[in-house]
Amino acid sequence: MQEMITRADVEEFLVDEAALLDNWQLDAWLALMAQDAHYLVPALDKPQADYRKSLFLISDDMKTLRSRVTQLKGRTVWAENPKSRTRRLVSNFRVLGEENGMTRITANFAVWRFQLDQTETYVGRYEHLVARAADGNLRFHERKAVLDHETLRPHGKLSFIL
């Protein structure tokens, strides 16, 4: 019997995750993913769509996500060179319930991004599927960031991990 996932667990997990991302510790962040994980950002006009049937902004399986991270660690992601500064506020943690042996957790986020004298803000809700791994720690099986913006204007791009 696995230990139940509590709101405090969710808060600790997501706040620690946010620190990894704000510090650009992308390998450590990648280690939070289960082997079958997906990293998803739905299209802004269809926030509840199915990634297998609808166009998203991001629909990475682990193979693509590993490559995305490798790229972000290098120097030829011009959109992130120089690296943007980000600061995330994550809050309103909730445990929604079980889905296929995993737990659906949600939290609200606001991420500020600063680069080349521009400031952009990304606001939305995380809707993740997590489960405890053999070591007892939480892992993402579906890491989904649902943006509240109606369009990605004037941001124009989403070139860091949201």
């Binding site: 950002v41 739905p42 299209a43 802004l44 006009d45 269809k46 769509a49 990634y51 297998r52 049937k53 609808s54 166009l55 998203f56 902004l57 991001i58 629909s59 399986d61 193979k63 693509t64 590993r66 490559s67 995305r68 490798t70 790229q71 290098g74 030829t76 992601v77 011009w78 959109a79 992130e80 080349l116 521009q118 109606e150 369009t151 990605l152 204007r153 004037p154 941001h155 124009g156 791009k157 989403l158 070139s159």
Partner: protein, 433 residues
């Protein structure tokens, strides 16, 4: 804007094989304002795909050429396009991006209109004289509205040639770009609506520019493609890259880059279904046409602001909001009848490269925004050089396809009417490459 001033913006020197665009063409408020009237009010503008209108009494709202518009499918299935402004006092009658409605009710004074545009109700209509005719007070149709194979276009020019004539030499390639799946395409649910803090013409250039692939998209080709187990050399391998590819002037500003199909990660993800589709194309269209449809890849530009890219099956359009800011809308156009597996894999392939969070587009956005910032430095005395390949039959890594756009742009901005010769005429170049 005077024609002489416009001509001063583009230096097209056939004898020396040089082509330069003064950077005020990208940065000036005067040019931006003139473009709206001289270009966006005199061309056919893409507003969406018929498949986006789901069922009777459905609508979408768009802003072609900066003019808020509604496209509807009425109760009988007929399509219409209207200005999104109440004929009474002007409030926008459709306030959602899309939906299904029997009536549009303008909340300001509660006038209501059906999806054919007719005024069907207004409170207190006894207040008007006999000269007030409800039949004349319906939603104002966009001056021209036509579809080509499901792709809907509007024009604000009542006198413009019909859409098929307008597409001209590009029409056959549009067909090729829509027939790849052996079935009609549909716009996949989920749009990419983003922006670029740059002049819209930079995206025209960028959308059919193979020269930037190796440098701007190094991470996609040198990291992502190998990570997918593929050899990137047909894309970025120097002399091995883009073999047989060329830039093509299709006349009147339409242009493309085209060449033998290059491998993408899609190929290995559904090989049997893709082979079945390829074989079915031979049967449906005959071997010769099927070869043209399926064995080439293309970035096709329809003047002034529409791009179709075959690698990722995207349709993308964009509008200037200011000299240094454009709005971009992109969709995937995919065959209706393909399997769920292939649909998923095509979406993955699209997203690997394209869109505001793809592994390539953000770098294009960064480049275009960097250009726009660079243009702040003496734009009236500096030029963008677009001369590549002027003294030869242009490759796709040359810039003929961009010059074709610029020649039409210059002619329209200068008020010239009729067709524009957009060719390089390499025979006239005296300084050989």
């Amino acid at each position: 804007m005077e024609a002489s001033k416009v001509r001063n913006l583009v230096i097209d020197d056939h004898e020396r094989g040089l082509f330069k665009v003064r950077r005020t063409a990208f940065s000036s408020q005067e040019v931006f304002e003139h473009e709206r009237e001289a270009i966006f009010d005199r061309t056919w503008l893409y507003v969406g795909h018929e498949s986006e209108l789901k069922g009777p009494n459905s609508f979408i709202t768009r802003t072609p050429g900066g003019r808020p518009s509604i496209v509807t499918r009425d109760a009988e299935g007929q399509l219409h396009a209207f200005l999104n402004a109440c004929p009474h006092r002007g409030n926008q009658v459709a306030r959602e991006r899309s939906g299904n409605v029997r009536l549009f009710t303008c909340f300001y004074h509660a006038w209501s209109f059906d999806t054919k545009g007719a005024l069907v109700g207004l409170p207190g209509d006894d207040a008007y004289t006999d000269a007030f005719d409800k039949k004349d007070m319906g939603l104002v149709p966009v001056p021209r509205f036509e579809s080509y194979r499901g792709m809907m276009f509007v024009s604000f020019d009542t006198e413009i040639v019909d859409l098929v004539t307008y597409l001209g030499n590009a029409r056959e390639t549009v067909d090729h770009m829509l027939d790849f799946g052996g079935d009609d395409v549909e716009a996949v649910e989920g749009a990419q609506n983003y922006s670029i803090k740059a002049n819209w013409k930079l995206l025209v250039e960028n959308s059919m520019d193979a020269y930037h692939a190796a440098s701007t998209h190094a991470r996609y080709f040198r990291e992502y493609i190998p990570a997918m187990g593929m050899d990137p050399s047909s894309w970025v391998g120097g002399a091995k890259a883009f073999v047989g590819w060329k830039g093509v002037d299709l006349g009147n500003g339409h242009a493309m880059i085209e060449g033998p199909a290059l491998p993408t990660p899609l190929d290995a993800s559904a090989p049997e279904e893709l082979a079945r589709i390829r074989a079915a194309l031979d049967v449906k269209f005959g071997k010769e046409r099927a070869h043209k449809i399926a064995d080439y890849s293309r970035n096709l530009f329809i003047y002034p602001n529409l791009i179709l890219i075959s690698f990722w099956r995207t349709v993308r359009t964009f509008y200037p909001v200011a000299p240094d800011y454009m709005e971009v809308d992109a969709w995937a156009l995919l065959p209706r009848s393909e399997s769920e597996h292939l649909r998923h894999k095509r979406i993955e392939n699209f997203l690997s490269f394209l869109g505001p969070a793809g592994l390539a587009t953000p770098d294009d956005v960064a480049a275009l925004e960097g250009c726009q910032r660079g243009f702040l430095a003496l734009p009236d005395r500096t030029f963008s050089d677009i001369s590549r390949g002027m003294g030869r039959e242009p490759l796709n890594t040359d810039e003929l396809q961009m010059r074709a756009f610029w020649r039409r742009w210059k002619a329209m901005l200068a008020g010239e009417t009729g067709a524009t010769d957009c060719s390089d005429h390499p025979e006239r170049v005296k300084v050989q490459a």
